[in-house]
Structure formats: C-alpha cells, structure tokens
Symmetry: C2
Subunit: 362 residues, 2 copies
C-alpha cells in the first residue's frame, strides 16, 4: 500500500480483526539477537515461517543474519524472488515438482535442503543434474522430537557417504531441532537442550572422522537461542519467533518484546462477559489461549468467529464498539491467517506490509 | 484457472498439501438437503463461512436456498459482488466503517444483520439514513451458548420496540444458535435443541403479541438440520458444513458424504511412524485431530508443518513420496487456510476453484 494511502489511517479506524506490528519492538528484538551474536562464532539464519515477510527478512539480514530458514519450497520461492540469496529449507522436499522448483531457485540463490533418506537424495541429484545446478543438503538427525531425521549416527554417516557419490548434490552439514521444552524449568530445559545438541555435534564429529567436511551445524529456536547459540560447534541457529514473539515465550521470560497483536472490537456485552469479533480465523489457540494485551481479564473461550472475555473490575468499563488488543499464543499460525500487517509506531499506523508468504503451504 | 490449464493436471502431481473437493459428494450433499426441504415450510439459508466459495453458494441457491448466511461483512461483500442477492450476517456489525460498507451493499442486495444492543441499532440507522438505504435487522437471542444475543424476552421485546422507532432500519425477525451439542446422545441432543428453539420461538410470539410482524426465525446448523428444520415456526436454517462435511459430523452419522480432504505426502518414515508434509497451516485441530481417509492408522500428532501417523499393518507399506488423504476435523478453519480448491470427479482433477472469501476476517 502506498504511504499516502496509509498516512490518514488511524489505529482506531482499522477494521477488526487487524494484525498489528509494533515497529519499535520489532527493531528492538532484531537488534538484541544481532548484538548478542555479533562477536560469536555462531551465525543467525532466522526462520521466516513465522513472520512470512520479506521486509523483516531483509531487516534481519541487514543486521547480520546470513540468510533465512524456510519450512516450505513455496516459502523459499517467495524469499528468492524477494532477493534473499542464502536459503535453508529445514524440511524434506520430496515431490518432483517441488525439486524442479528448488533446482530453478538454485540458479539464483545458495539453496540447501534437509534430507533423511537415500531415495530422496537420489531424486534431488537426478533433477539437479537435469537442470545443471548443484543443490546443497544437510543431513537431518532426530535429536529427540521423534519426527523427521535419521535415528542413529550410523544411519547418518551412511547417508552422507551415499550423498558423496551422487552428482550435483553437495553435502553441506547436519541439522537437528532440539525441541521447545516449554513445560520444563530453565535448568531442566538447559540440560535437555544440551543433551540433544550433543547428539547432532557427535554426528558432525563422526562424519569428520570419515574425512568429510561439515560446514554447517544448524539447530535452534527462539526458546533455546542463548543455550544453542553458545553451544560449541553449532554454526547457526534457526530462531524464528523472536522478532514478533507470542504469549508462551513472553511468559518464559525471554528478553524479547511483544511486537505482534491482534486488534479486536467488543461486539456484544452481558453482565459477566465481553464478546470480541476475533475467533480462530483471526487468532489461533494451538499453543494455548491468547491473552488480552492491556488487561488481566482472561479470554475464557475462543470460537470460530468470537472470543469470550470474562469481565473483571478492569474490563467492566469497556462497552460495545471499544477496541482491545489480543496477544497471540502462536504467532506463526496467526500471521498465516492474514494478508497484511498494519505497522504501528507510537500507536500510529505508519505502514501496511504484505504477509508475502501467507498460505505458502507447499 | 482456465479449464485447458487444468486438463492435464493429475491428482498425483498436485503439490501437497492440497485442498481437494469431491464434486460428486458435494452435489450429493447439496441435493440431499435441498430435497428434504423442498416441500417443507422451512427454508435453507446456508452459511458460507465454511466453504467461502461463490460457486458452491450459487449451486445451493440454484437448488432452492433463499440466500446465504455470512459471519463477516467482508464475506458479505464477496457474496454480493458475486451476484448473491439475499444475505444475512448472523453477527453483530459494530464498526462504522463496516456499517458504511453494509449500507453500500444494501443498494445491491437484501441485507440483514443480527443485533443485540440499542447503541448498535442507532448507528446502523444513522448510517443507513446517510446512505439513503434500508438495512434489515434480526434480533439475536442467546438461547444457550452464552455468547452474543439478548438474554431475556423482555430485553428482546424492548429492543424490537426501539428498532421500530429508528429510521431506515427494518425489523425482520429473530435469530438464535442452538449450539452443536456434539458430546450428547441423539436423544439428549434432540431435547436440548428443542429446548433452545422453544426460547427463540417464544420470543417471536411475544413480539407478535405486540402487533409486530416477525417474518424470519433463523436458527440451525448442519448438526441440527433435521430437528431445527422440522421445528414449527422456524423459517430458515443456517446449515453451513453439510456441503463439505468434517470428521465429527461424519462420526455423528449424519447422512451427508465427505467432500473435503487434504492431500499430503509422506516425507519421512521410521520403523513406527510416517511423517506427512501437512501441519496446522494446512489442516486444523481446533475441533479434534484430523483422520486419514483410506486408513485406520491414527494421526498421533500434528505440529505446525508436520502430521505424525502411527504405522499399523495397513500403513507400513507406505513409503516416502506416497500420497495420502486427510479428512479435516474442522472444515471451516481448514478451508480458510487455502487460496484454491482442487476439484475432483472420479479422482481426476476437473477444475480449480478459488476460495473467494479466504481470510475475510473483518
């Protein structure tokens, strides 16, 4: 949207629900992580699946990030088309159509993708040869999540050795996700993260013992940023949520500020409840119930099109038509519901940014 | 998408996750409901918040539906721009910007909106006068859900009497939502639905005792279609899910067929689990965990980008790259994640339909 269209747009006039982005807090978060890692051996390769936005990705890169992490091939396409040159798809890309797209993207960017099976590597190699490009691969290890990834060191080393024999496929390193460990104490979490990381680092060393270079060891999330980012031999972290944040991470006491909220309107009121025009199509509950930003009154229910707030002494003064801000409990799935961010500075609307990769599920 | 582009598109080549629509089952469901209501006093005003698609809405109208129900003003705009002439927004429209849009839509369609407060009615009237149009209103009664709606008959009658005094606002009837009652037996459900409906019908009669005509009594959902559709004095039902269906309604034994599924690919496999490329951004879990379409193996976890299937004797033969179909547990929130339906007949891709009202949250 052109800035002249935005200049008259007031926060109180935005149609609700609206996805709000606090620019100062966004910048604070990006700077905080960038400053922490500036003189450290570990790099930042932020995951873009949360913000799904090119402007934020470029802000992160301008502040030192080496590239971006994507979950999906279609997200990588958006990023490469938006000028990002260094991409890790932290996921298995299996379908031939998607691998063809990857190969095309590899003409314009340094493309790396996670692998955990020989059959997939063979397809990647065949299609890379057809396109005359090289695709980088990271061997994913399951370090505790029970999801994708090789399950043992032997399985990992065997896969790396097979990759070495395949044309136009370049083994670049290893990857693992140590998990969120959200229900653990800080001390328990730290022990569990380090235990997980030790496995991916051990795989790396075992591969090196075979005289194969391991350039990248990629792990990490916003929840484990400082533990993983300080762990020896981890070369990059994939933290994704820290620019925007969300309720569980805020409650974990992470040092990042809340930059994302959803503006809602009170559309009905009874003696004990406020009904907001913001349901599951506007703020998700898959990581818990969202919270109000300026009030302690709990959201006691969230249906498809409505949120229900229990009135207390603070919220009893709110009337039909009043606006209220909600903090998402899961920013990644919430942002994906919107086509635009409404960007605020000092609570004034200063810009509208597209959610460039919204709905890029493939 | 032009049909010549689709003609070569094979189900097995669709990039996954893909939203699949079985055209025969869609038609079966629309016909079944239409046939049931053809000679009954109750009309069908299907809710479009589930399918969010103009083509399906027009199919429903061609088979006798009197118009559509919307949840949001922006959905109503899509419907009116797509040629639908009779619209109920079964929700309170509070913000002035949205009411201005409603008033504009009222030039091209018969627009009705739910109300439960005098202040809202006054704003609707003022803006309708400014635009020189008439907006219809239905007084919503809370008949058990504890959400929007007047809470008593007296409150409802008072509101109707106030509406009678307001310019350019036309009282058209009453509305209530009797709830899904999904955890109840059929007999318990039937009793509870009838108890709820008796309240909205009682409100209607009390209003008529004031010599005010009540043209519309609008209730109902897919879960209560036959109970509500046969209940005396209910004039229309708002069933929305029946064209597509979803797991809980299928398990309830409703006579409609499953027309919606999500195509996913096996991207990783261990000795006991299959990992699919379909997470919460491609199929939602807010009404329970989705199920596989052709296998009994349970989906035991659904993360943001992955589903995890426990392998049994049926699924152990599936390999990385194989495709598998998932039945959503909530079609409304799942469809809203996609820009397109891939339409199938006899498992051949025959068309691509836009999800016209995807992301219309305001």
């Amino acid at each position: 949207m052109k800035s002249e269209l935005v200049s008259g747009l007031k926060l109180e006039n935005l149609p609700t629900p609206a996805l709000l982005l606090d620019m100062s807090n966004l910048e604070y978060n990006i700077n905080l992580l960038a400053d922490f890692f500036r003189d450290k051996p570990c790099d930042i390769r932020p995951h873009m699946k949360g913000h799904k936005n090119l402007t934020i990705a470029h802000m992160q890169i301008d502040r030192g990030a080496i590239g971006v992490t994507c979950a999906k091939t279609s997200e990588a396409e958006v990023m490469v088309n938006g000028g990002i040159k260094d991409i890790l798809i932290a996921n298995q890309v299996i379908e031939s159509g998607k691998i063809n797209l990857l190969a095309e993207l590899a003409r314009r960017a340094d493309i790396k993708v996670a692998v955990d099976s020989y059959q997939n590597c063979e397809n990647l190699s065949r299609i890379a040869v057809e396109h005359g490009v090289t695709i980088g691969v990271l061997v994913e290890m399951d370090i505790g999540l029970g999801r994708c990834g090789v399950k043992s060191f032997d399985e990992g080393i065997n896969l790396v050795q097979e990759i070495q024999k395949l044309d136009n496929l370049e083994f670049r390193g290893v990857m693992g996700y140590e998990g969120p460990f959200r229900d653990k104490t800080q001390s328990e979490k730290s022990d569990m993260v380090k235990e997980s990381l030790s496995r991916v680092v051990q795989l790396k060393r075992r591969i090196e013992q075979e005289n194969i270079q391991v350039e990248i060891v990629s792990c990490g999330s916003t929840g484990t940023w400082d533990i993983t980012g300080n762990y020896p031999e981890i070369t990059e972290i994939q933290a994704g949520t820290y620019p925007l944040m969300e309720v569980p991470y805020l409650e974990d006491g992470l040092p990042f500020k809340s930059a994302l909220s959803v503006l809602a309107t009170v559309i009905s009121k009874s003696h004990d409840k406020l009904i907001l025009d913001c349901g599951l199509k506007a703020v998700t509950d898959d990581q818990g119930i969202p919270k109000l930003m300026d009030y302690d009154s709990p959201i006691v229910g969230i249906n498809e099109e409505h949120s229900i707030v229990e009135i207390d002494h603070e919220t009893e003064k709110l009337e039909i038509g009043d606006k209220i801000r909600i903090l998402p409990a899961h920013s990644c799935t919430t942002v994906n519901l919107y086509d635009y961010y409404c960007c605020l500075r000092n609570n004034e609307v200063v810009d509208i940014w597209q959610v460039h990769a919204r709905g890029m599920v493939t």
